[in-house]
């Protein structure tokens, strides 16, 4: 079966022309396909790449020209759809937002890039993980505007300052970089995880919303915000630059002082 065969460079036929300015890099990828494999393994690919390439380009090169069985998700290729979160050299990143030039070794040493699936979610195949538990936690915090009473005919009025209050957490693309970098989530999968809390924050601090209490009740649960030990991994991992830990702290404070 092709999928289990040793991967050798060029097994998909002749390689495309190498562009000017390309360097050879080694891409070391954690592979696992439960359909054929008993356990995960590492595969290494030596491929040509430009310093301006995104890591996603390297993965595409491998998939398209070397090993078609390599499996990962991607769509937008510029950091807005949240499909391609993975562990690149040990940290959670979007493959389409990391450029090779920022990973190159100094001097003449050949660069090796290590890529693994994000941690804490079951691996379905290679770099592709089961996102269902992640989205389940998101859905559990009532991630939508809750209002009571009659709707106004025009828009609800919201001051510029009130709109600014929750701006940071509206940027979330649900990529899971944060949640799958959280040591608490790794050990206790029942923890909602930072992404769900970020999305709760987005509504709790929206002046138009009237569901803060319901949501805070949910987050006060044993698997809620109190699990967070403020290690800042999540903030470092967020490709949208969201102050994740700060948002969690604000939710904790809202719970302690019963007001937002």
């Amino acid at each position: 079966m092709t999928a289990t065969a040793e991967t050798t460079a060029g097994s998909r036929g002749a390689q495309p022309p190498v562009p000017d300015g390309a360097v050879t890099v080694t891409v070391k990828i954690r592979r696992f396909n439960p359909e054929f494999d008993d356990e995960p393994r590492w595969d290494s690919f030596d491929i040509p790449a430009l310093p301006s390439d995104r890591v996603l380009n390297l993965l595409h090169h491998i998939k398209w020209y070397v090993d078609g069985t390599l499996t990962f998700r991607r769509s937008c290729a510029h950091g807005i759809c949240g499909s391609d979160a993975m562990r690149i050299n040990g940290v959670n990143r979007l493959a389409c937002k990391v450029l090779l030039k920022d990973l190159l070794q100094k001097g003449d040493k050949q660069t090796t890039i290590t890529i693994e699936p994000i941690k804490g979610l079951p691996v379905h195949k290679d770099l592709l993980v089961d996102m269902e538990p992640f989205f389940e936690a998101f859905r559990a915090v009532k991630p939508y505007l809750v209002t009571y009473g009659n709707e106004p005919t025009r828009e609800r009025i919201q001051s510029v300052a009130d709109r600014e209050r929750f701006d940071d957490t509206t940027k979330c693309i649900l990529c899971a970089c944060c949640t799958t970098s959280c040591p608490v989530y790794w050990t206790e999968g029942s923890y909602f995880g930072p992404a769900a809390i970020v999305n709760a924050h987005r509504f709790i601090f929206d002046s138009r919303d009237e569901g803060a209490e319901e949501r805070l009740d949910i987050l006060n649960d044993i698997d809620g915000v109190w699990r967070c030990r403020t290690t800042f991994n999540c903030t470092d991992a967020c490709p949208r630059g969201i102050q994740v830990t700060k948002a969690i702290q604000e939710v904790k404070r809202a719970l302690l002082f019963k007001r937002v």
Binding site: G68, T69, C76, R139, Y144, E155, D162, T170
Partner: protein, 584 residues
């Protein structure tokens, strides 16, 4: 094979699909089938805004918006549809606000509005502030808000289900849509969904081009499926090139940047749009700006070492405006080109962006089977559909509007139709047969052609021969190339033979759709011997209303990938606006 039965199924979970689902899901038993997780859809990439004549910051009305849409579309717009869209725009924006969308606000706390290309006060007098926005993340906010509301309403999703065929049942009154067939990515299993109504909301097909703002997954599946069923596609030669893609990459920088005051300059620093569109300059519609940029480069006034791009100058806007109103595009330029828009101009060049054409529908989203008749039970909305509100050139912000207005309409119409039917019409015999055969063939050993090679060559020829400027010669070259690639496609090899998450297989299937649509595009571009909106023929530089003031309709003539294409025409609907020369 698995079997499911619903009242309504919606294919696609971008803005159009989820807007439809919110309506349909509250009226009938609805399922959404989507090849991507809903929040991965490319609606999330939209940046600049969504237009509606709210008149929150200056005088405006929907009639001006209608006129701008029609003129922007170079009079190929169906005027009844444009009027509906401009009128319903106001509620479409207010609905989103009520669903929770965090729009930017005016000092009084109302929804703020900004300028956008081609949107004017009083029929062209000056640019008007009509685009409602949330920084340069308007599409992201729309996608998130719609998904949040789907969660609220408990909409049922089948994520990572690739729809590859629909079921048409022949009746004495012609074909009726009775369901769809999907391939489940996780397992490789085929699923048949029987339904009373089916709504296509599968988005665009920008991946026929190399330089594009579109996602890898925008491969025109919905249009391809419908076309293969012998149903028509409309106006496929009209493809929009957005002026400001990051040079060489195609990643979009929103027109909202120019709406906030950014200026296009050539190598010598000249604000060249003053020459091409003296009244509204950099805020002329996209087709005009894209052609002006291409001309500057062709005539040797391009910037950079190869003189092959122009510059978008945002430096005078200041860090404050860039960081607060255009934060994402500022970051894109920094990340992907290592250029900081705060201090230096950004290299830009037109990028393939938006399909004006698509699956022809009426104003209720019902799909046409010819100029006069619909396919009962079949609907389409969003970029995959052609109502036609965009005519030969879409105005910026009118797509986010289109997906909300016509997504909603299609959702309501599909649910009401389903509720008006007592029972499901029987599926055709062996509904899954053709998908099963397609998958089996792709996985069998029948050649050594690589999918990536064919796709790369397709994109190269489309960029070179069928983009901003076209001629008989370039188009014939493109047609020949596409047809040759189709022949090679018959010998592709898929390396992954597994059942689990076989994205290798699906890339091959998607390439089939791309090849199909590329040929239709080129075919239409060859036949349209005039220049109108986004379709610019160097050999026919003028608009020809006598011969070409009509929509193109394309029909596939057989089953094979290389089957012939038959062309027909459909009249444009006029209400109150007579065609005029398009000056800005």
């Amino acid at each position: 094979m698995q079997f499911h039965k619903y009242d309504v199924i919606i294919i696609g979970a971008g803005g159009a699909g989820m807007r439809a689902a919110i309506e349909s899901g509250q009226r009938a038993r609805t399922a959404v089938l989507t090849k991507l997780y809903p929040t991965r859809s490319h609606t999330g990439a939209a940046q600049g805004g969504m237009c509606a004549a709210l008149a929150n910051v200056e005088e405006d009305n929907w009639e001006w918006h209608t006129f701008d849409t029609i003129k922007g579309g170079d009079y190929l717009v169906d005027q009844d549809a444009a009027e509906i869209m401009a009128k319903e725009a106001i509620d479409a924006v207010l609905d989103l606000e009520k669903m929770g969308l965090p729009f930017n606000r005016t000092p009084e706390g109302k929804i703020d509005q900004r300028r956008f290309g081609g949107h004017t006060r009083n029929h062209g007098e000056a640019a008007v502030r009509r685009a409602c926005y949330a920084a340069d993340r308007t599409g992201h906010m729309i996608l998130q808000t719609l998904y949040q509301n789907c969660v609220k309403h408990g909409i049922e999703f089948f994520n990572e289900f690739y729809v590859l065929d629909i079921c048409l049942t022949e009746t004495e009154n012609g074909p009726v849509c009775t369901g769809a067939v999907a391939y489940e990515l996780a397992t490789g299993e085929i699923h048949v969904f029987q339904a009373k109504s089916v709504v296509f909301a599968t988005g665009g097909f920008g991946k026929v081009f190399k330089t594009t703002s579109n996602a890898h997954t925008l491969t025109g599946d919905g249009m391809g499926i419908v076309f293969r069923k012998g149903l028509p596609l409309e106006d496929m030669e009209f493809y929009q090139f957005h002026p400001t893609g990051l040079a060489g990459l195609g990643i979009l920088l929103t027109e909202g940047a120019r709406g906030e005051g950014a200026i296009l300059r050539n190598a010598s620093g000249e604000r060249f749009m003053e020459r091409y569109a003296p009244t509204i300059k950099d805020l002329a519609p996209r087709d005009i700006v894209a052609r002006s940029m291409a001309l500057e480069v062709l005539e040797g006034r391009g910037a950079g070492p190869n003189k092959d791009y122009v510059l978008l100058d945002c430096t005078h806007l200041g860090a404050e405006v860039l960081e607060t109103k255009l934060p994402d595009i500022t970051e894109f330029a920094r990340t992907y080109l290592a250029v900081d828009p705060v201090v230096e101009p950004v290299p830009v060049y037109p990028t393939a962006h938006y399909a004006m054409g698509g699956i022809p529908t009426n104003i209720h989203g019902e799909v046409l089977r010819d100029n006069d008749n619909v396919v009962p039970g079949l609907y389409a909305a969003g970029e995959c559909a052609c109502v036609s509100v965009h005519g030969a050139n879409r105005l910026g912000t009118n797509s986010l509007l289109d997906i909300n207005v016509f997504g909603r309409r299609a959702g309501i119409a599909a649910a009401e139709y389903a509720n008006s039917r007592e029972s499901h019409v029987d599926l055709p015999e062996n509904p899954a047969a053709s998908v099963e055969a397609q998958v089996a063939l792709a996985l069998s050993e029948h050649g050594q052609e690589r999918v990536a090679d064919i796709r790369t060559e397709l994109q190269a020829t489309m960029d070179a021969n069928a983009s901003v400027y076209r001629t008989e010669d370039t188009l014939k070259t493109a047609l020949h190339d596409v047809q040759t690639l189709k022949e090679r496609y018959a010998h592709i090899s898929v390396q992954d033979k597994g059942k689990r998450f076989n994205t290798d297989l699906l890339e091959a299937v998607e390439l089939g759709f791309l090849l199909e649509l590329a040929e239709v595009l080129v075919h239409g571009a060859l036949a349209r011997k005039e220049s109108r909106g986004g379709h610019a023929r160097e050999d026919y530089p003028n608009r020809d209303d006598t011969n070409f003031m009509r929509h193109s309709m394309f029909y596939k003539q057989g089953d094979g990938l290389s089957a012939d294409i038959r062309m027909d025409y459909k009249p444009v609907t006029f209400t109150r606006y007579k065609p005029m020369e398009r000056k800005y």
